[in-house]
């Protein structure tokens, strides 16, 4: 018997307790200090005498025979591939790369904006392509930019045409928009199969307007809020995103309060996400303003202790901690967190095909074309398709691989030149925060047995 190579074991933040999870066997436990000490000894290969404890570790797969673990890994991997092959595909369609905003942190600011216009021919070709290429697969379309919902008659006609084509194919459509002209699109969007609309607010009025303004310099907050109100009124789901860095994190409690007071958080059509402002493709002018992957969530963890109403607005996932607390089980092992060319593709108005939203619009990342002629760079596509933790050398011996999934292929490629390399996530540190937030409430229990009773209640 060996200590499983997939165990994730660490101390819970602001607690005397520890956690252990194993995504291969689907087990998660909290340990008090005595058991944690025993487990550390076992992990270090020291002799032990507690047969009952050893038996429990074995029954839960925290200890296992290497051959059994290898077999289970293989079976779960095959299950994963099987499940993914049946999974829904997200097809991004970029109507234009142009935008009416001049956000301080735009990652597309160095993109070319080919002087072509979106035509109905291109939209027809897109639908013909996906109908043939993804026949028999569940799929939906996400309209992306630039800014896809620009307030011009020509753009509105193109969006309406696209929605009609999607309706003919019985496909749902989502939008990623800055939200500035959303209320002028409501008549086009209402009574359609809209899955959701992602809109970004980076804070309350003054903070948001300092970061996300029009090219003229004018503020955008009030127009976006009108758009969100109009969507919710018309039962169109809004996915509100706040992009955070060190310049606006302190405004999170205020934005949360604003959303609560607007009544948004009570709506079944309202959800939120937080995005870290980060360097996707190129260095920003002020990288010292950016949070790292763990420091952002450390800040949010501290903020939620001071301002618990934030949790009414946004509940951090902390890797799989939130999932575990809400579902009472672990998610299946994540053998691959990169959907590119598997469950995600991106297409743009120039007729080019890309792997995902991170690569779309980057000339050297094109994988082929769907207009005016169909071409496919099969070698490049196969490279993206083959990426998972079994193909990334750095992942093979990592105990976090089944929670991390190898991260983002595009970020990895920007780092190493090869998409089949790792983009590591701080899984252990996130879980330390998440177990505290969702299982310990940040409090150090006086007596662990009392804590067990709490769990059972």
């Amino acid at each position: 018997m060996k200590y499983s190579k997939y165990n994730i074991f660490s101390k819970i933040r602001d607690s005397e307790n520890y956690f252990i999870i194993n995504l291969l066997t689907g087990n998660a436990d909290i340990l008090g200090i005595p058991d944690a000490e025993k487990l550390k000894a076992i992990r270090n290969g020291e002799a032990f005498s507690d047969e009952a404890f050893y038996g429990e570790l074995t029954a839960k797969g925290y200890m296992s025979e290497e051959a059994d673990e290898t077999r289970l890994y293989r079976n779960r991997y095959l299950d994963f591939l099987d499940s993914r092959n049946k999974d829904e595909i997200q097809l991004f369609f970029v109507t234009n790369y142009s935008c009416n905003f001049a956000c301080t942190y735009c990652y597309q600011d160095q993109y070319n904006n080919p002087n072509l216009e979106l035509s109905n021919d291109v939209i027809d070709s897109f639908f013909n392509y996906i109908k043939k290429e993804f026949a028999g697969r569940d799929k939906y379309i996400t309209v992306f930019g630039g800014e896809p919902l620009l307030n011009s008659p020509k753009q509105k006609a193109a969006i309406e045409y696209l929605l009609n084509k999607a309706s003919d194919e019985k496909l749902e459509v989502s939008f990623v928009t800055n939200g500035y002209s959303l209320d002028s699109y409501i008549n086009i969007l209402r009574n359609r199969s809209i899955r959701e609309i992602q809109i970004t607010l980076d804070g309350t009025r003054a903070v948001h307007n300092k970061r996300r303004f029009l090219k003229s310099g004018n503020g955008t907050f009030d127009a976006i809020v009108r758009g969100i109100d109009a969507c919710l009124l018309n039962k169109i789901t809004v996915n509100l995103r706040m992009v955070i860095d060190k310049e606006n994190i302190d405004n999170l409690p205020d934005l949360a309060r604003f959303a609560i007071e607007k009544g948004w958080t009570k709506s079944q059509y309202f959800k939120t996400q937080i995005g870290r402002n980060y360097e996707l493709h190129h260095c920003q002018s002020a990288p010292d303003k950016l949070f790292g992957r763990i420091s952002l969530f450390e800040e949010i963890y501290e903020l939620t202790k001071l301002h618990p109403h934030i949790l009414e607005f946004y509940k951090p996932a902390y890797s799989i901690a939130k999932f575990l607390s809400e579902n009472g089980n672990l998610p299946n092992p994540l053998f691959d967190s990169c959907p590119a060319c598997k469950t995600e593709w991106a297409f743009d108005y120039t007729g080019q095909i890309y792997s995902c939203t991170a690569t779309v619009g980057k000339e050297d990342e094109s994988l082929g074309s769907f207009y005016p002629v169909i071409t496919q760079n099969k070698e490049k596509i196969e490279q993206w398709e083959s990426r998972d933790v079994t193909a990334i050398p750095e992942c093979k011996d990592c105990n976090l691989q089944l929670a991390c999934g190898g991260g983002c292929g595009s970020v990895a490629k920007n780092r190493t030149g090869n998409e089949c390399s790792s983009d590591c996530r701080p899984i252990t540190e996130l879980l330390e925060l998440g177990f505290s937030e969702y299982f310990e409430n940040g409090k150090v229990p006086n007596n662990f047995s009392d804590k067990i009773l709490d769990y059972q209640n």
């Binding site: 066997t25 996707l280 575990l324 991170a358």
Partner: protein
């Protein structure tokens, strides 16, 4: 005697959940999913 506390409500090892990434399916329309 051990006091390890399982957080799994279902029968151990029988997990019917989707992978972590997929549980946020409708929320992955984001550039930030690369982060």
């Amino acid at each position: 005697m051990t006091i390890m506390k399982s957080l799994i409500k279902k029968k151990e090892g029988k997990v019917n959940a989707k992978p972590a990434q997929c549980c946020a399916k409708t929320s992955k329309i984001i550039v930030g999913c690369h982060d």
